[in-house]
Each structure stands twice: as structure tokens, then as C-alpha cells.
Subunit: 218 residues, 2 copies
């Protein structure tokens, strides 16, 4: 919302658009996240307390909770749904839905891998936590559901249906489930190979169902 991404591209003096306050908030947010990733890497998720995180980020526990409603959110939260929506809407009118999804998701995966959203190590840890820690996993799925609702909007506009239509909802949620499963699969297999490939295969299943073809594994 506050377009944090623009901040780190500017030379120090040229863009004092954001007041000191806003800049500090962004810094604090990052400090909390960074501290969390470091501590969790060292000690594990459950063993890391909010107090430790607060100490490491040099803020008070109160402040941690002001920035993130729950401990899980420190790891899970992202704010890229608007971006996804924007890119989806930018796809050509006539293009089949699945095709659009392929493109958009492909780009999202690329950006994620390129370190735009955090260091690669952090992203990997994040993925692992989303699979391994029940609380984080649960929060992730909630977050994905909200992404699904965003998707509903776009799909509804495209197909001329109502966004609250059962069919639209089911379709979008199955898309989200497919993507989630692809990511999970990738993580469960040591995060080897490109996640994008798994995503494409997942979308294949959505498109064509489960064809009883070859019976091989990864």
C-alpha cells in the first residue's frame, strides 16, 4: 500500500517523498521480519518468542504486535495481491483464463526467485515454514483464500458472472489450491528445480483433469 518497493531504488537525497515517520515504519517492519527470519533459522519457529524478536529488532513487544497481528503474520504476510490482480487484468481480453494464469504466476515465481521480495534464503525458509509449521501453514492458507477472493473478482469480470457465484468461487479456490500444492510439493522435495515448472504441471491438471497416462513419479 505504501509502495515500499520504490524506496530502495532512490538515491538518498533525491526522493524524500516519504516523511521520516513513514521511512521509520518501513525500517521497523523490515527489522522485525529480518530478526524473525534470523532467529527462526537459528532456533526454530516455536522456540523463538516475540520477546526475543523484539529484542533483536530493538523494539518493544508491543510494537511487534502493532506491526503484525500474530506471530505467524511476520512470516506469512505479503502485499502482492493488488499486483497480481493488476497483471491479470493487463492480459489480453480473448486469452483463455488458464493461459493468463500461467503467464502471471510464471512472472510472480520469477520475481520471487530473483530476491525482489526478500533474500533467497529468507524466501526458502519462508516456504519451509509454510509447509512444516502447522500454525504458519494455517495462516498461509487463510491468506491464500483471500488471494482467491481477489481472483474471483477478475474471473467474474472476465466471464461476465457474479464474483460471489458458486462456480466462480469453486474455480478460483481450486486454482489457489493447485498453486499451493505445487509450492508445497516443491518444498517437500527439497526445493530442487524450478517451482515454476511445478506450477505449470499443477495448472495442467486443472485444465485437463487427471489423465490416466504414465504412472511415473518426480
Amino acid at each position: 500500500m505504501t509502495m515500499a518497493a520504490t524506496a530502495h531504488r532512490s538515491n538518498p537525497a533525491a526522493e524524500p517523498r516519504l516523511g521520516l515517520r513513514e521511512r521509520k515504519k518501513i525500517k521497523t517492519r523490515m527489522a522485525i521480519r529480518t530478526a524473525t527470519y534470523r532467529l527462526v533459522e537459528e532456533q526454530g519457529y516455536d522456540a523463538t518468542t516475540i520477546e526475543q524478536i523484539a529484542d533483536a529488532a530493538e523494539v518493544s513487544p508491543s510494537t511487534v504486535f502493532r506491526y503484525f497481528p500474530t506471530k505467524e503474520d511476520i512470516v506469512v504476510t505479503d502485499e502482492y495481491d493488488p499486483l497480481l490482480e493488476e497483471e491479470l487484468r493487463a492480459r489480453p481480453e480473448g486469452e483463455p483464463l488458464v493461459e493468463s494464469l500461467r503467464h502471471v504466476v510464471h512472472r510472480a515465481v520469477e520475481r520471487s526467485a530473483s530476491g525482489e521480495y526478500g533474500t533467497p534464503a529468507e524466501m526458502r525458509l519462508r516456504s519451509r515454514l509454510m509447509v512444516e509449521v502447522p500454525a504458519v501453514r494455517a495462516r498461509t492458507i487463510e491468506s491464500m483464500a483471500s488471494t482467491g477472493l481477489t481472483l474471483c473478482q477478475v474471473v467474474a469480470d472476465r466471464t461476465g458472472r457474479d464474483p460471489s457465484d458458486l462456480e466462480v468461487r469453486v474455480y478460483c479456490m481450486s486454482v489457489v489450491a493447485a498453486l499451493t500444492e505445487a509450492s508445497r510439493y516443491w518444498t517437500e522435495h527439497g526445493q530442487r528445480g524450478h517451482m515454476g515448472d511445478y506450477v505449470q504441471r499443477a495448472l495442467d491438471v486443472l485444465e485437463h483433469g487427471l489423465e490416466p497416462r504414465n504412472s511415473k513419479s518426480p
Copy 2:
């Protein structure tokens, strides 16, 4: 697992198969659940504490936690995955997967509506909580994911694939997502009509995708 269902059908003396201990455990479990449903109905989920539940069920808080690992589990937990698996496997060999699912899910919905798993009022409350209370919702999805894994086994056997195959996983998880969404839709619309109908429509979407047909809503 302990086939609780058989207990209440037997006349008192004829089937003392289960020792007093087992019978008591079943009773305690039910007492906790019943108390929870009653209190939650009256006060809401968040306002109901474990202590209150323990009091109402006439056990200690410790005992509540022994029976249910989390508060959400009191509401969410069921043990019908094995039943689902069994019924799925009982379907004829050649039958298309989606068709089998239709039958099995249809029967499950019927049984659920007939009060076999709890009073109708309890079932309705349960559904509402699974939609409305974030924590319960999250736990529900986790539980659905484990149902998805069960489904994977069956699907894998049917299609001659590996149960950990990405395609199988994606397919099963999208099935589960579709069913979840149908249930959610039903609840969000005041639980009017038969949930079975929504489920069938959800499976239609899985089978045929989102056809840009009519643009009407419920």
C-alpha cells in the same frame, strides 16, 4: 477408530463389549462436545473458555486438553475419513473418479443431515463456526488437507499412479477445495436448500471447468 457409533444402538445388557473405561471415555468426549456446542451457541466461540467448558462437562480443564489438543478441535474433529475411504473403494472399478466422488459425497451429506453425527442444530452451528471463526476455519482446512491425503491414496490406486505424485496431489486438493467451497457457500447463504446440490455443482466445475455460459447468480 473406536467405533463409537455401535454403542448407542445396543440394548444395555446385550453388548458389554467395551469395558466401563472405554464407555466412560466416549461419554466424556461427548459431554465435552455437547457442552461446547451449548456454550458457544449461547455466548459465541471466543467468549467461551476452556474452563467454562470443563465446568459444564464436569471434568477438569486438564481433561479437556487430554481429549482435544486444541479448542478448535472440539468443534472440528471428526473421524470419518476411514469411512469415506472405504466407501470410495467400494465403488465399481470402471466408474469415472468424479462419478464415484459424487456418490460418496452425496451419501456423506445425507448421513450428516440425518443427524447421525450429532444433532442437526449442532451440525449447523459447526458449519457456521467453520466459516465464521478464523481459528476454527484454519483448523478445518488443515483437517480437510488430511482428508485430501486419504483421497490421494484411493486416487493413486485407481489410476495406477504414485500417491505422492504431484498430479494426484493437485487433483485431490482441488477436489477438497471444491467441496469446502460448496459447504462454505451453503453456509454463507443461510444454509438454505440442500448442501448436496451445491456439492454437485462444485464437482461440475471440476469436471468441465468454468464455462462462460449463463451469467446468473443463486
